[in-house]
Symmetry: D2
Subunit: 358 residues, 4 copies
């Protein structure tokens, strides 16, 4: 499949036909929340292993009258013939076979799992397990829109970033691009509970999470290699980070507090200029004035990433804090942003919702 | 001012010019969240007593780049000359003077305070205090859109309903219209905390509200006469209700559980038909199948009102439960819905956002 | 077993030996929180089907150094020989066989499941399923301490009440005892999430419950017959209630708002006297002045039940509101209160903890 | 006053008479929650500027029947004559005058404000303002019990530590005592909302805090010099830390995640030994096995501090995480622990409550 001819064929139709695989997970239903209001697409197929045969609105009544189609099991040939683009919001390690099947059938895919984010099969093996479609790893484009815009536009397979890597890399990229960083960056990240997906784990039950705060997977979280891969590419040399995620008793939002050693003490004007220049043309990035920091609520339900920073001369550390909604910029919103790029549409199409505040 | 000529003059312009008075309260900022994406309006003036001189985005960073205009103090002549419609989201008892001033200047106003909801000045006096613009009370149209659609379309002054009355009356109206109700209806309502507005009261601080549930103003809440006024009008005879509000440790949403005695035991098919017929053409009302009840989350951030009911033959009571977002259908969303009617636009314009789930 | 000889044998020992069956559920661990500080008991055996072989402190680190014994599977003979009293905090419908086995072995048991609360096997069948130990049903004493104090003191098997029935019956008992009630009482109850136990159900996950409010099992909840059984006994005639439970996004607490028709309008002094007289000697009941209502937070972590009431002459309804902690007075605390009675100790022993506020 | 003679005079009485100044703030009411169950004390005087003349149980109904005495204004002479010990839970900068007045009258005081925590008046001036009782600064003992046990026992004035410094210093002390630390320690702390006290600030209202996560006072929080003072004293050389506090949407609890550079890579057995040796005799410190980290819920309502650590060889950083309840070990509980020391009682007296889980 050549993307050029693909674009031509799409443009003949007025509306892009979409399949959402894994539609009843949180990333899946967030995709649908966005896509049903997107002016250029029509959701044609939605799948769910658990709920096949039911209407989506039986599981999510808020979609009644907006997306009442039946959930199906995954049928690759049917998807290939009836959809122009598939979003795969399937569990890690099970997504790869489905994506490979769609790729074989010439379909463009945006995959929200971790399966195609790491370029190196050996790294995937170390943090997950043996990869079943290592050939596709080389072809997949890492879908952090602001960093890989050009490749995404032409991509056949986009590996949508993890929620944590989105918040972390967007906050650090300008510093690594400017080669200002010295030493290991510490990323102390805090996520709302939807980041763990729609889950029946006891430890994610309300009674366990509410009125509680904890760290988990400190130093061993699977998003670590994803962050390092991207920062290394930007820095053009190997980067090591230390990543400590925490669970916040709230539903949505990631705040990433990052501690960065710099080669020399910056002045805040220059820092401001570096961030603002780097994100000059990015509609969803909000760079705050020096010394101001974002809150998760100000991005909740929107595709925004807000970035604040402050250099502390006592500690000789730059603190960078980013806030995203893990389900939007950290998953479904960024996936739609990537779709917009892939089909030559305005990047903000369907994504102009303002954060739900308060 | 005649509304006809008004409409003509508006239609010549492509875009309606809006003033939002009290823009930094929760109803005000929710109005702005909706209005900045409404295709037919432009927000021209925003006012705030507390923050006059600041940019709105300094108080609400989520609106940065979307609504960066300066907050002003209220200047009636300026508003009259630069805005076609004013939304007043001011405190109860202070709104009436501002609204009267705008009415004198021939402006159409949608008032979100309680000041013009009660038709009878004596009732207002009993529950609030002496009214300063009793003449306008007779002119004001109660803005419960589904009940007063025709009058709202022609109204000069719309008194936007309270959040509790919206949830209660929408759930009970079909029963009173069918003259099925016997005895006092009990309304056990539960509201999220934003219903109390942007407040510095200690009893609304996080540490007091969180992990707590309580009733307040049981039997004496000011929304009682509003509910009774509307149900009496529908029933064409005096209706008494008992209203017991409760505070839920969540930000948005009202669930109203209502216990209704009926003149005779209904069959559920007929009940279904009554509700579905009554709301046949109403885009924001979602009548659930008999025996199903709504949750507040399925309407959060949307202008929907979901209605469920179940007749219990043991207790001889019909239970009706409605769910709304107090800031949307219970305030700003319904206000915009009313604006759409007043200017002859599709009722759903600017209000098609789906609930934020999860 | 005769309770008299039993008491004698216990009093020879300085310390009562306790078994807690189902120690890792929320009622079980709450029992342990209370029992490890109780001056007259020693926890000898704790069981868990899921975690047998582990230390309790591995699942609940807060108990490290306070209760580090090993979890075991249930072995009836061992329990019978090593414990003087067993608390059974096992799932409904599985508890009855274990309890029957302990009863056969002459053990006194406080059962926190629903299995022995309903005296009539036919009622149990209707709301649960066929009972496997119907003979014991007749012997079991319903453990609502304030109502059945005398029988509990002599009981061999105490059926500890459900959390909802505790809050409801304590609020209504004085009115039924005085034969003041007319018509069906409506009970609109609101519970924190721990009432559902330690659960892996998706609908109890944080992302589903948080920022949501809903009713469930309206009119069909299994606690209905328990409430009716107790009120009928107090009223000495059949009582029907309508029971509508709701789920509050908080961990602990039940607020029960009850709407009561009265035979004649009461004066509030007389009402106060009725409540205060009824609970004159009850250390855990807090009757509020007329017109005041309790909040759940003021009883959180304590064995208190706070009761408020207000008669509304417009609606001709008495509103009674009670607040309890569902895990303490609604489960483990009341169980310990019953143990104190059964062994002739002061009723408040081990239960003097004040609510955790804020 | 000599403490020796003081002790003698106290021991003659069976019960210590206590005054709690600022009894209606969160630290104050938490003190009362603990003190009313303490077997060796009697609360004689409670003061409140705002509520003088009311009963405490009017503001905190949970204390009805447990502490129903009247709130008074502060009268130094009365306190001096009727109380043996005063806890001052007054606002920073207003406490110092009251404490000085009591010191003049020969009273022993445990001050929960920040006013006497910093030994150097110049440091106090830099972070707060000019000190009005600099002479007392030299006499005051910093009340971090595990570090200054001996001095506290003899102290006339104990400056009870801030909540953040308690969590931070307890986690870091063994490392500094062993001179293992290299470079600036980064402290990324997360606190529940009660840490801000009983407040009417809009930004602490439920609607602002709920479903939100943010950093505040990054690098400029007033607890920074307190942490540095204590660590410098342990290290016997100046220590600089970087302190970044965050606000968690929960009521109680502080989790402090600390990133520590070490002079050489430790093995985890040695680390374990260092921590366990350092806290060998401390009843409230729970050192977790290497690689395990605590959660805030496991200490909620208790005086415990749980400590976990893990060395990461990739990042060459030791991560130390501590969890405390900010109102107990971080305020009122530690104050009572200090009182126990000051009067020669068992350190755990009145503080044996287990955490409220779930």
């Amino acid at each position: 499949m050549k993307s050029t001819s693909h674009k031509v064929s799409i443009r003949k139709r007025t509306t892009l036909r979409i399949a959402v695989l894994g539609a009843t997970g949180y990333a899946g239903v967030e995709l649908l929340r966005i896509l049903i209001r997107h002016p250029r697409v029509r959701v044609e197929i939605i799948t769910s292993q658990q709920y096949a045969g039911k209407r989506l609105s039986e599981i999510y009544p808020s979609l009644a009258g907006r997306c009442d189609i039946l959930l199906e099991e995954i049928q690759l040939d049917k998807i290939a013939s009836q959809a122009d683009l598939a979003f795969a919001a399937l569990p890690h390690e099970t997504s790869m076979e489905v994506v490979a099947g769609l790729a074989e059938r010439g379909k463009r895919v945006i995959d929200l799992s971790a399966d195609f984010r790491l370029h190196d099969p050996a790294t995937y093996l170390r943090w997950y397990r043996a990869h079943k479609a290592p050939g596709l790893l080389r072809e997949a484009i890492y879908g952090l829109t602001e960093i890989h815009r050009k490749e995404i536009a032409k991509a056949r397979l986009v590996a949508n970033p993890g929620c944590y890597p989105t918040g972390a890399v967007l906050g650090l990229a300008p510093l690594f691009a400017e080669k200002m960083v010295q030493g290991t960056v510490l990323i102390d990240a805090k996520s709302g509970v939807t980041g763990a997906g729609r889950s029946s784990a006891v430890e994610l039950s309300f009674s366990e999470v509410n009125e509680n705060f904890k760290a988990y997977n400190v130093g061993v979280h699977r998003h670590t290699p994803e962050i390092e891969q991207e920062l290394s590419q930007i820095a053009r040399k190997p980067v090591t980070v230390f990543f400590a995620p925490h669970l916040v008793p709230m539903s949505r939002g990631i705040l990433s507090t990052m501690y960065v050693g710099l080669k020399k003490a910056p002045d805040s004007e220059r820092l401001s200029k570096i961030y603002n220049d780097f994100y000059r043309t990015d509609p969803f990035i909000r760079v705050l004035p020096p010394g101001s920091f974002p809150q998760t609520k100000e991005v909740r339900g929107s595709n925004d990433c807000a970035i604040g920073f402050r250099y502390d001369s006592r500690a000789k550390r730059l603190v960078v804090i980013t806030a995203i909604d893990n389900l939007v910029k950290g998953a479904a919103g960024q996936a739609v942003q990537n779709m917009n790029l892939m089909f030559g549409w305005p990047e903000v199409e369907g994504l102009t919702t303002t954060a739900l505040v308060p």
